[in-house]
């Protein structure tokens, strides 16, 4: 197990900066997820830990030891790639045992270890097949098996589920979570899918344009996003963001007035109000409603329903998450109530208020 520390880490490709001043630490045995949109630098950060990218500035430490100049094999990390990176000319057993063979482990011991891990991953009937004869999920399990046989201090996953279908994603996600429980090793997981991040992570690191936006547990990020970017990125369906002005009584959202305290801004200031879809509800009557809106679209997911309605300030549709089923139809007018205890306020620069 190893603690991973980033101390003022920078990465440039020529004159193009990719990562700026990244300082954070991943505790030993922690499952940490780097999440962010494409091009935010999350994979680059992971590859720098593995030694596959040169660190342009700052220091990366593995188990307290400076790792910037350490060759990749000496870092004792294993990586599972998005494209699996299996060797197509080798069988499953040869793929899994490649590292052992390179390290000179005798054939008998190698075979025993491969069989053992293959059983754990339910690959024991497939050892003689080549990657081309396997499904996507099986290939990913072979890649995980190869990593397990490395017995690394740190497991790294670079968008490992992106090439799998929805059902396999959930299954493989569970297998990775189980692997973390069983091995107790540090894991760094890169994804652009915030659901993967929320379900797997002990801690999430949100990256945007090469900067760390926020570090925290999934619930910290969900309940207390540090800025508009994190609020918009974490949570599915997305948070509703409404332009508003602070007034003496609370907030003016277009023509709608909302009595709310503790906004953290002065009257007249422009703010952005963030409301999670589950914190908007349909009132029993218009008198109880904060405002009345027209339904634009209804998505029935079975256990819950997503209602898309017109926003009081125009622009993007509001999303309401309602438990159970509803008979609402597009065009119907609904009384919407905002739960004032779960609101998020952001200043004009996008930072969280109060």
């Amino acid at each position: 197990m190893a603690k991973i520390e980033f101390d003022r880490v920078y990465k440039n490709y020529g004159d193009t900066p990719v990562l700026h001043d990244v300082t954070l630490s991943i505790e030993s045995g922690e499952l940490c997820v780097f999440v962010g949109p494409s091009g935010c630098g999350k994979s680059t950060l992971l590859r720098m830990v593995a030694g596959l990218e040169i660190v342009s500035g700052g220091e990366i430490r593995l188990a307290g030891r400076r790792a910037n100049e350490l060759p990749p094999p000496e870092r004792n990390v294993a990586m599972v790639f998005q494209t699996y990176a299996l060797f197509p000319h080798m069988t499953v057993a040869q793929n899994m045992g490649f590292g052992l063979k390179i390290r000179g482990v005798p054939a008998a011991a190698r075979s025993a270890k491969i069989t053992d891990v293959a059983k754990t991953l339910q690959l024991d009937g497939l050892l003689d097949r080549r990657p081309a004869q396997l499904s996507g999920g099986q290939r990913q399990r072979v890649a995980i098996g190869r990593a397990m046989l490395r017995d690394p201090d740190v497991y790294m996953f670079d968008e490992p589920l992106s090439n799998l279908d929805a059902a396999l994603r959930i299954q493989t996600r569970l297998e990775i979570a189980r692997l973390h429980q069983v091995t107790g090793r540090s894991m760094v997981y890169v994804t652009h899918d915030q659901i993967e991040a929320m379900t797997l992570a002990d801690r999430i690191i949100v990256l945007n344009r090469g900067r760390v936006e926020q570090v925290g547990s999934p619930m910290e990020l969900y309940d207390h996003p540090a800025n508009i970017f994190v609020a918009g990125f974490i949570g599915s369906p997305k948070i509703n963001l409404l332009e508003a002005a602070v007034s003496e009584q609370g907030l003016a959202i277009g023509q709608v007035h909302l009595a709310v305290a503790g906004v953290g801004a002065r009257p007249g200031d422009k703010v952005t109000l963030g409301i999670r879809p589950e914190h908007l509800a349909i009132a029993r009557s218009e008198s109880e409603a904060t405002f009345v809106s027209e339904v634009a679209l209804v998505e029935r997911l079975g256990g819950e329903t997503l209602v898309y309605a017109q926003s009081p300030v125009g622009g993007d549709l509001l999303i309401l998450k309602i438990q159970g089923k509803t008979s609402l139809k597009p065009g119907e007018r609904i009384p919407v109530v905002i739960e004032p205890d779960h609101l998020h306020f952001f200043d004009s620069a996008g930072a969280r208020l109060s």
């Binding site: 990749p72 094999p73 990176a85 299996l86 197509p88 000319h89 590292g99 190869r146």
Partner: protein, 280 residues
């Protein structure tokens, strides 16, 4: 899909394309066909009716050409020169191509471009310099003179072609091997080489054809009849006062057929190898 294409009537434009294609194929193939059937004629008949079919099919021309030309020894020399030249070329070019495409070292780009100069040089331009060097090394009139020059001569093109294949490989596989503890040579040998095998077969075939047919160096560097390769050996049939063209055609047919058969057997690999790089 192909049945639909077959069922559709040909357009005049397509007929024009087929016509033009047929003319080109005929122009390209006719010299080889002419060589083969002329090999069955007598010397006099070749001059009397250069393009006509033989009045009598003289199979004995081939036996005579084989014995008088000493083609058995020439074949052996050519096989040795071609085999070792191809092995040398593919072995060094694959490592050079890997280094140019995957390793980061000072002067990499400049060195890669310098390699490409080898594609531009015509053999006569370096023939005298090569002769001087080989003389100094004591290699003139040995098969090594041809093995080394032909092997080296084809390295530029082979490096260029293999470089394209290496570039088309996904780096993740090499990175995965690196993280598993493999060093650069182990990655090259265990991961990259098996993946570019089709490309290596392709360049090996192309080089074999080029080296098999090479004439200039074979004439310049070898003076001993017993050490000549097939193209240089056949020149012996051409005398100062008279030339027996029937024997030349027979010898040419004998020497050309094996490399053509070799190509037709391997052309599947050549096509696959060439198109694979383009598809990437």
């Amino acid at each position: 899909m192909s049945s639909n294409t077959d069922a559709r009537p040909r357009t005049p434009g397509e007929w024009l394309q087929f016509g033009a294609g047929s003319v080109i194929v005929t122009v390209m193939c006719f010299p080889a066909i002419w060589m083969v059937y002329s090999a069955f004629k007598s010397n006099r008949e070749i001059f009397r009716s250069p393009f006509g079919l033989p009045a009598e099919w003289r199979f004995e021309n081939f036996t005579k050409a084989w014995i008088e030309g000493g083609l058995g020894a020439l074949f052996l020399n050519t096989i040795i020169v071609t085999g070792l030249g191809v092995a040398m070329s593919v072995f060094f070019a694959s490592m050079a191509a890997y280094a140019f495409t995957r390793l980061d070292f000072p002067g990499r780009r400049a060195l890669a471009r310098l390699f490409l100069v080898g594609l531009l040089l015509p053999p006569p331009a370096v023939a005298i310099a090569l002769f001087t060097q080989l003389s100094a090394l004591g290699l003139i009139n040995t098969l090594w003179a041809l093995i080394l020059t032909n092997g080296a001569w084809t390295i530029a093109l082979t490096t260029y072609l293999l470089g394209g294949y290496f570039r088309s490989l996904k780096r993740e596989m090499e990175e995965a091997a690196l993280l598993e503890g493999a060093n650069r040579f182990q990655i090259f040998w265990h991961v990259v080489m098996p993946l570019v095998k089709p490309a290596m077969i392709t360049v090996a075939i192309l080089n074999a054809i080029n080296i098999w047919n090479e004439l200039l160096f074979a004439l310049l560097f070898i003076s001993d009849d017993a050490k000549r390769t097939l193209p240089a050996g056949i020149v012996r049939f051409s005398g100062y006062h008279s030339t027996d063209y029937s024997l030349i055609f027979a010898a040419l047919t004998i020497t050309t057929i094996p490399i053509m058969i070799f190509y037709f057997i391997c052309q599947r690999h050549v096509m696959r190898g060439l198109t694979a790089a383009v598809a990437e």
